[in-house]
Amino acid sequence: MSEHVLPKRLYFVIFVSLVVLTAITTGVAFIDLGPFNTVVALVIAVFKATLVVLFFMHLKYQTGMTRVVIVAALLWLAVLIGITMSDVFTRHWTEKGSSWQRSSIISPYRQTASAAPRLPRRA
């Protein structure tokens, strides 16, 4: 255990930033940014997670194994997302769906921003 006592103020600042960022995420959700809806939400979320890991979880003040563990975890996540995407981006999407599909739900990934209809919600 490396005893690294941080000033209370720092925790408070981080906490407030997290709350503010949450508010921003909520706010942005009301504005339609097209394909950037998800991007913006994810960027903010990653930023928040980073703050938590660095300060609340003290990664900033740790060395050695702890960092190895974090880097390994991120690497694994990259493998998961990376190879999954290699499927999604090379899949054979058909323009016309099978009878059980609604035409609007074919290839959500291929649709251009302007053409992309909001996917239908189940009642």
Partner: protein, 543 residues
């Protein structure tokens, strides 16, 4: 096989971990890793019995093409419960929580694991998970297959998918805690002089397994949570009508699922290394290759998951990549097989029960692994996917491989765990029954699959009956083979002859302390000056 010159009748130590304390409290609230191993042993033996009973019912049903026993709907629930129980509640915990818990601290010269209370907590979480899951099964069960594919498990679910998923979700936490505990223990608790390259290979393989536990289990937990999110709150994740992608479920499931199969086999490989060394009285050939192949398997196993998805909607280009990577994961497995065989070369091999299990493992695992390569070839898989060939493949690795290793390990360390010997002749007989029964059960399934019989059906065309009857007959022999050890182990625990500290004349720290060990394992912390396989000078050079 004993080569001890002077025969002295061994006696049990006066005080040991089994009699240090009495009463149910001393077991249910114990933090002794050796007692926790027993708690797990009882629990998973129960799950094995339930899962095995389900398998027996399935094989009985398949004796007749029309299904001899039950409706297809019940059959679906049966194979789903069988798969989930065997994988999550028997095989995954088997070697790590029983043999691993018992042996890891002793093998590295420690008094307990790093977090003894957490160790006990893992068991309680495991029992909670098992109860929640069994409740779902009793209340009506799940019919999706153990893979829980969407949309069967979401849009079209008609069973107790959610409550079963909660059970599996909880069991993941038990595994994560066990994995963490083992990793920290192996890093921090090694006795002075116990360097990484003096560790028994069993420890290396359990270390690799723990890494997979910690990295893979959260993914299945998250995936099941996403199912719940979609079903309860209609968030579009897997359902295309809500903007989701059903194949995403398969990606997430197999990103966990393929490493999971290595959670099942890696510990067994570690046991085999110990069995082969003890049975040949020799250092395992190419120690560091065997050690690093465990780590390599753990790493590569996370990059091949798409081999399960060649025909289920994944892009063919991703299929190429996964196929190539799958061939890579077979390399470290093959290294192990070659090195065990090389160890046996020119050794004076004993044919005691543990070694028989090891030899059985090597043969059956090789068949299982090689047929995996057939399946991993894109073209062949078109023909073989979702047939009995796949069923035979994975039973060769999981039953012929993993369970043989578990039983072999139990036979090697039983005298350490109880201080008692079991009847060797019965043990050899049971091992031969298991081997014969196993091959008769699953050998015909390769042919059935090749001929085109699909898996997961309660009925089949009449021309497949002969092979199916053979398979069912084999299953009954296998069941007897599993039952006999239960009988003689129980007998041995109460009435067996005293074993003494080292009945096999084997090397390794666990054989230097009394059987059964004292609660503290070592009265004084051992100072390690040699590797775990210091079997005499001349043999040491062979490796």
């Amino acid at each position: 096989m004993s080569t001890v010159a002077v025969e002295v009748t061994p006696t049990l130590p006066e005080v040991h971990y089994l009699n240090a304390d009495y009463g149910w409290r001393s077991w249910l609230f114990t933090t002794d890793h050796k007692r926790i191993a027993w708690l797990y042993l009882f629990a998973i033996t129960g799950f094995f019995a339930v899962g095995g009973l389900m398998a027996t019912l399935m094989r009985l049903n398949l004796v007749e093409p029309q299904g001899a026993l039950m409706e297809p709907a019940s059959y679906n629930k049966l194979f789903t419960a069988h798969g989930l129980i065997m994988i999550f509640f028997f095989l995954a915990p088997s070697i790590p929580t029983v043999l691993g818990n018992f042996l890891i601290p002793i093998m590295i010269g420690a008094r307990d694991v790093a977090f003894p209370k957490l160790n006990l907590l893992s068991w309680y979480i495991f029992m909670l998970a098992g109860s929640v899951f069994m409740l779902a099964v009793i209340r009506g069960g799940v019919d999706t297959g153990w893979t829980l594919y969407t949309p069967l498990s979401t849009t079209y679910a008609n069973g107790h998918v959610l409550s079963a998923a909660v059970g599996i979700f909880i069991s993941g936490f038990s595994s994560i805690l066990t994995g963490l505990n083992f990793m920290v223990t192996i890093h921090k608790m090694r006795a002075p002089g116990m360097t990484w390259f003096r560790l028994p290979l069993f420890i290396w393989s359990l270390y690799a397994t723990s890494v997979i536990f910690v990295l893979a289990m959260p993914v299945i937990a998250i995936t099941l949570a996403l199912i719940a999110l979609e079903r309860v709150f209609h968030v579009g994740i897997f359902d295309p009508a809500l903007g989701g992608d059903p194949i995403l479920f398969q990606h997430l499931f197999w990103f966990f699922g393929h490493p999971e199969v290595y959670i099942l086999i890696l510990p067994s490989m570690g046991v085999i290394s110990e069995l082969v060394a003890a049975g040949c009285r020799k250092r395992v050939f190419g120690y560091s290759f065997v050690a690093f192949s465990s780590v390599a398997i753990a790493a590569i196993s996370f990059m091949v998951w798409g081999l399960h998805m060649f025909l289920t909607g994944q892009s063919v280009y991703a299929g190429f990549v996964f196929s190539a990577l799958s061939f890579a994961v077979a390399i470290p497995s093959a290294i192990k097989v070659f090195n065990w065989t090389a160890t046996m070369h020119k050794a004076s091999v004993s044919y005691d029960a543990p070694m028989l299990y090891a030899i059985g493992f090597i043969g059956l695992f090789t068949i299982g692994g090689l047929t995996g390569l057939f399946l991993a070839s894109l073209g062949t898989d078109v023909h073989l996917h979702d047939t009995y060939f796949v069923v035979a493949h994975f039973h060769y690795v999981m039953v012929g491989g993993a369970i043989m290793g578990y039983l072999g390990g139990l036979h090697l360390w039983w005298p350490k765990m109880t201080g008692k010997l079991y009847p060797e002749a019965w043990a050899r007989f049971a091992c031969l029954l298991v081997f014969a029964g196993f091959n008769l059960t699953f050998g015909p399934q390769f042919i059935l699959g090749y001929l085109g019989m699909p898996r997961r059906y309660a009925v089949y065309p009449p021309e497949f009956q002969v092979l199916n009857v053979m398979s069912s007959a084999g299953a009954s022999i296998l069941a007897v083979g599993y039952f006999i050890p239960l009988v003689y182990f129980t007998w041995s625990a109460f009435k067996g002859p005293v074993a003494g500290p080292n009945p096999w004349g084997a090397k390794g720290l666990e054989w230097t302390i009394p059987s059964p060990p004292p609660t503290n394992n070592f009265d004084v912390t051992p100072i390690v000056t040699q590797e775990a396989y210091a079997y005499g000078h001349e043999e040491a050079h062979v490796g």
